[in-house]
Amino acid sequence: MAFLLEVITNGKILYNELVMKKLLLAPCLICIALASRSQSGDSLLHLLAKAKEDTDKVKILSRLCTEYYLDKPDTAMLLAQEGLNLAVKNNFRIGEAMLLSNMGDVYLSFGNYTKAMEAQLKSLDVYEKIKAPGEAVNTLHAIALLYSDQQEPRLALSYYLKEYDALKIHPDENGLLWSLIDIAKTYANLNLPDSSQIYSDRAFEIARHYYHNNFPGYFLNTMADLYAYRGQNEQAFQYYRQSIPDLINDEYYREICQSYLGLAKLFKITGQMDSSVYYAKQALQISRDKGLLLAQLNIAGFLTTLYKSLHIIDSAFLYQELNTKIHDSLFSGSKVKEFQNILFSKQIEEREIQEVQAAYRNRIKIYVLAAVILTFLSLAIILLRSNRHKQKANALLHKQKLEIDTQKSKIETAYQELQATQAQLIHAEKMASLGGLTAGIAHEIQNPLNFVNNFSEVNADLASELEQEIDKGNLDEAKAIARDIRENELKIGEHGKRADAIVKGMLQHSRNNTGQKELTDINALAEEYLRLSYHGIRAKDKSFNASLKTDFDNSIGKVNIIPQDMGRVLLNLYNNAFYAVNEKAKLQADNYQPQVTIRTKKIDNKVQIEVGDNGKGIPQNIAAKIFQPFFTTKPSGQGTGLGLSLSYDIVKAHNGEIKVETKEGEGSVFTIHLPLTANN
């Protein structure tokens, strides 16, 4: 209790002792300890007692600190520690920042700039971490003040400007006003009068409204300072003078000292040294009485320079000594160093922070860039892949196309070869059938030639007989002979033409190009080729004989066909018929009478040509294949297998049809139908 009493009564207990014994102190004891200190303090203590939430308690403790830090810094420190602990315990960050700032204020009251700055910077750090710049006004102001006091106007200005920005978040005219004044002051201090003027004008604007033109002394004296700084002496005088009565009335001693010192300085400038000394001494008196160390320091400093300029060395020395004494107590060498260390470390820290921020920004940039690059890269890869895929597909397609082209050209070549081969085959088949015909043709030519020769011989005989008869004068006989000669001559011509026609037909038959359609006597054609075929077979096989039956419909008239082509069809059918009967004849020697029949008939608008034989017939399983190319039942070398196939094609080309009726062992009938109207 003795300790507590001490706290309450003089409040001069050392801070360290407080810290050591802090743990023993319950908040309620603090309440008791602080009881009845001041009016507002009382009500706050009352509130503290009633407060249930820890956060509320923290807030109230903060306000109590503000209340006590100037008059009772020890108590305030105790409260600040308690509040800070409570805030940290509850993770109440704003409270933590508030109380750190309070603690800074308290340290300043102790004159411990180092600790004060440390606490304020911690506070600011918390505010920044929780991103509550609007709440950081007091802290920023305190830091600015600390820098300002430590003759770091640039740093001070930066914090004042930050404070001003923070104030704009929760605008309050008084706050803004003083912030503007602070800024204006700092600009003046930095010897930037124009900037200073701008801010002080703004401050005046707000002040007129805020104070309703009834400016308080502390405002006037501050403005006077500003004008003085800027060398606007007249206004400075005016405002200093105006401020003093009000300040005295309000017992604002620090400000009174300030006004007096201001006046002293002005008088020094204007050369009124007595007045200057007077006001300076007034100020010094008051500061001494009120224990205002900083004011004393300034005033002593001023008086030193003042006396120096007045060449009153002993007085100058006296004030110099005072100044040094106060200075040492305020800023001991170590304290200054410490503070400068803090400044330095703060600057480093800020630089580090900036570096970290820059690094962070860079990192972000790098990440973004990396992401962008990655995106582009993946896009590029995708594009590349799809491109490659496409290229592959294209290559494949190209390859396939090439292959197809190659195949195509191969097929085309093969087709051409096939066509050529087919043409050759057709030709070969023609030649083969022609070869088979040679004997028949020879016989067919031989007969007319025989007639030609015989009639020729006869005519030679008749000519000599004619001479004899003329010699005899037997004119009638001579005339008869002459008539015979002429008749024979006709026969010679006739048979010559017949041979000629056969040769022509043979040539036509062997000719490669397709013949032209012409009106043809189908009966004559059928008979001619029947003879050719028959004699052809006979030439090869002397023993062969067959009865040829012809049944021609003479009403058919001429049919529009390609005679040599249709001749080949007939030839094939005859050859096959003869072959079939011959094969059968070889098997059944005696009783068999081979017979080949050709029958033509007009049916409606068609010509029907039947080639029949009583040969061995065609087995049913083969009958379906006989019109296929290269199908043959003949031993190899005896047939090309193309005869019927070509016949089929020729008949088709004539818009006709060919079919076969056959019975194995009994014979076959090939029937051709050719249209009379179409193409005819």
């Binding site: 007639f451 020769n453 015989n454 006869v458 015979d484 024979n488 006979r538 002397k542």
Partner: protein, 124 residues
């Protein structure tokens, strides 16, 4: 002497009539003509034993000369008429075949009418 000529060529008639015009005019020879084997048999049936000599082509559509020869030799024995075979194919096979079936002579085309005349005359 009646001679039956069998050939599918119509002009054979004119040729023979001219070649043997003197013999015909003299009445030495009389020529009949048939243009197929079938015609020849029909004629022979009608005019039995009228023809003393038959001159037949072998190579004819329908009934061939050799078949005709066989028929004649089979049907007409008392006495069977002389048959001379004429062929464009003067090969041994045809010749043998003709002779085997009782042909009296074998003449190759083109016919040498001088030697044919002599052959006919010697037969008559």
């Amino acid at each position: 002497m009646k001679i039956l000529v069998v050939d599918d060529e119509n002009d054979v008639k004119v040729l023979f009539e001219q070649r043997f015009r003197r013999e015909i005019r003299n009445g030495e020879m009389e020529f009949m003509f048939a243009f197929s084997g079938e015609d020849a048999l029909a004629y022979l049936q009608k005019h039995n034993h009228e023809a003393v000599l038959i001159l037949s082509d072998i190579n004819m559509p329908g009934m061939s000369g050799l078949e005709l020869l066989q028929r004649i030799k089979a049907s007409y024995n008392d006495p069977s008429p002389h048959v001379i075979m004429v062929s464009a194919y003067g090969d041994q096979e045809n010749y043998n075949h003709a002779m085997k079936h009782g042909a009296n002579a074998f003449v190759t085309k083109p016919v040498d009418f001088v030697s044919l005349k002599e052959k006919l005359k010697s037969l008559v």
